[in-house]
């Protein structure tokens, strides 16, 4: 039958595989060429203009101060260290923002679904207002609103050993004394005990069918035992109390208003987006699931917890990931209100002092790239875990 199988007019170009191949080779060639072209121009331009390149400036002293630094930092430290300070600031604000935005988003999303008309309406207004006004404006709003609302340091609000004024929230700074090891031991002990409690509660259910509020009790257990050990060790913590001085407050720990404003702006803004995602996720779970759960006699809170939320999560997670990424990227706007994050320190001060545009901007892009990548890797892992349970 071989004669019969002779394909007619089998020209090279008509083969689907070949066509794809040719197209791709062309594409690759274009990409490589454009890349090469840009790069060679860059080199020529840099040479022409006598701009030095490289990261050697990283080892030079930075000479500028940074308001918020979670690791030791002074002006005498290097640009490299300044970079890490800023990196940590970016990461901290992103992570805290993500946590807060999630909480706000879930609450607002549920509120918008509330059967209570007024609550649902207010949540809708919140969501629409937040979503439709540029984040930068919101940052200015929070920053200057916060500043305007608070008193000068001399007139600080005081609660116990806490101070609140335009310069931030001051709290006692705990300083660990001898004997703290005992407390740590107590804390570990309490955790072990509560894990035991949870296991015991599971076992008991299997045997007798009765539930025990294991999670709440373990919380109590952890607090109780830790406090007990604190007392036994004679409270081995001393507090460095904030004190008003001529201009400011000295001592204690401080949460500057910049940090608060950026955090509030980021989390309320992103929270509004997350609220919509949560709402859509919950709505995406077939009403039949709720009915089935109800007809089995499950209470509404159990229905939500055991049936609706686990399924809604699958729908929620992918768009949630993008919102997390957006939040991390939007933290770069913090520069506008003096929050010393990556863009401010690296693309701002460092770039201006060293003039190394390519290096600093490239570095910023790289950092945001990796930050985004890690968030999405984590979320994808979580997502696959969730869907694994399903199938």
């Amino acid at each position: 039958m071989s004669d019969n199988t002779t394909p007619n007019n089998n020209s090279f170009l008509h083969d689907a595989g070949n066509r794809a191949m040719i197209f791709q080779v062309l594409l690759l060639a274009v990409v490589v060429f454009v890349g090469y072209y840009l790069f060679s121009n860059l080199q020529a331009n840099l040479d022409n203009r006598g701009i030095s390149t490289g990261f050697s400036f990283f080892n030079e002293p930075a000479g500028f101060p940074i308001l918020i630094h979670l690791i030791e930092y002074t002006e005498a430290n290097t640009y490299g260290r300044a970079f890490f300070v800023a990196l940590i600031n970016t990461i901290v604000i992103s992570l805290l923002g993500i946590v807060l935005a999630t909480i706000i988003g879930v609450i607002m999303g549920l509120a918008r679904l509330s059967k209570n008309w007024l609550v649902a309406r207010l949540a809708t207004i919140y969501i629409e207002v937040m979503r439709n006004i540029p984040l930068l404006l919101q940052m200015f709003f929070w920053y200057f609103a916060v500043l305007a609302a608070l008193p000068a340091p001399a007139q600080s609000y005081e609660f116990a050993d806490f101070l609140l004024n335009k310069r931030g929230i001051y709290s006692p700074n705990p300083m660990i004394q001898d004997g703290f090891g005992l407390v740590v031991f107590g804390f570990i002990l309490s955790i072990v005990a509560s894990i035991g409690l949870v296991i015991w509660a599971k076992k008991r259910q299997t045997k007798t069918g009765l539930w025990f509020p294991a999670y709440w009790s373990s919380l109590g257990l952890i607090i109780g035992i830790t406090f007990l050990f604190l007392a036994v060790a004679g409270f081995p913590i001393e507090f460095d109390l904030p004190q008003k001085s001529r201009f400011n407050v000295t001592g204690g720990m401080v949460l500057p208003p910049e940090f608060v404003a950026v955090l509030v702006a980021l989390s309320t803004y992103t929270g509004a987006f997350i609220a919509e995602i949560v709402r859509a996720g919950i709505l995406s779970v077939n009403w039949g699931q709720t009915e089935a759960a109800r007809s089995l006699g499950l209470r509404d809170n159990l229905t939500q917890r055991l049936i609706v939320l686990p399924q809604a999560l699958r729908v929620i997670i992918p768009p949630l990931t993008s919102q997390y990424l957006n939040l991390a990227k939007n933290s770069s706007l913090g520069a506008a209100i003096a929050y010393p994050e990556l863009v401010a320190v690296v693309m701002g001060t460092t770039l201006n002092q060293t003039g190394q545009a390519i290096e600093t901007i490239g570095l910023c892009m790289l950092v945001y790239g990796s930050l985004s990548l890690s968030i999405s890797i984590f979320m994808n892992w979580y997502n696959s875990k969730m869907s694994l349970i399903e199938r």
Binding site: Q205, T206, K207, T208, G209, L210, W211, N286, G288, Q289, E291, A292, A293, R294, S295, L296, G297, L298, R299, L302, L306, I307, P310, Q311, R314, I389, E390, R391
Partner: protein, 259 residues
């Protein structure tokens, strides 16, 4: 109370009514979907409900475990009136199993977990015992070997049987079926009907919305025909099929049976 009396009158003498509709009316917004439903079901009775699409069949049986609220009249299940009292509703729901047309299995839980969920959380059955019972019912519906799979991995007929087993796991005294076979293909319909026939033979009280007239003929004690929110006719199967009283019923039957 004449309506109630009428409902009573439909009962065979001396036997106890486990579900009673007393002059039940329901509206969806302005739309009057159930009109003066008076009907009562004895313990162990097997009722088939049929009627054209949109006639209110589903709505009626969903009122029994208060997936829907009615606005007028009273529904008594096991002597308890279904109203906003959550305690009552929960208690009744434990006693009433429901099987949906689209199964409504929980896709994120394994078959076994689907079955043990309610016993563990609602009835506070020890997990082990709940699992044993679940396996028992899975065997009853002949899919014990699928216990560890997830709903997405089963065929439609198998899923529907799991749904039935799930309903049975609460050891209900009443089972409600809402078109349990209409999403299935012919081979699977048979599987499901077989299980239902078995249940019926064991004396479970059953209310079943279905258009499987074969099932109605063999199993039902009474067939209820609804149209436009009313019960048009309710009768024993042979009477119902051979000698329908209303012209509406005749028309409907002629359509269905000629196919």
């Amino acid at each position: 109370m004449t309506n109630t009396n009428m409902a009573r009158a439909q009962l065979a003498q001396g036997e106890e009514a486990i579900i009673e509709f007393n002059d039940v009316n329901k509206w969806y917004g302005d739309f009057h979907v159930l009109k003066n439903i008076n009907f009562s079901i004895k313990k162990g009775e097997r009722i088939v409900v049929c009627g054209p699409s949109g006639s209110g069949k589903s709505t009626m049986i969903r009122c029994i475990n208060r997936l829907e609220e009615h606005q007028k009249g009273a529904i008594l299940v096991d002597g308890v009136e279904m109203n906003n009292n959550l305690k009552n509703i929960e208690a009744i729901r434990k006693d009433v199993g429901m099987v949906f047309q689209h199964f409504n299995l929980f896709p994120h839980l394994s078959i076994l977990e689907n079955l043990t969920l309610a016993p563990i959380w609602v009835r506070k059955t020890p997990k082990k015992q709940a699992e044993e019972m679940a396996m028992h019912y899975l065997e009853r519906v002949k899919i014990a070997n699928q216990a560890l799979k997830f709903p997405g991995q089963l065929s439609g007929g198998q899923q529907q049987r799991v749904a039935i087993a799930r309903g049975l796991c609460m050891q209900p005294r009443i089972m409600l079926f809402d078109e349990p076979t209409s999403a299935l293909d012919p081979e699977m319909i048979k599987e499901v009907l077989d299980v239902m026939v078995q249940l019926a033979e064991e004396g479970m009280t059953m209310v079943c919305v279905t258009h499987e007239m074969g099932f109605a003929k063999t199993v039902a004690d009474r067939v209820v025909f609804m149209d436009a929110g009313e019960i048009v006719e309710a009768n024993e199967p042979h009477e119902f099929f051979d000698n329908p009283q209303h012209d509406r019923t005749q028309m409907f039957l002629s359509q269905i049976l000629n196919h």
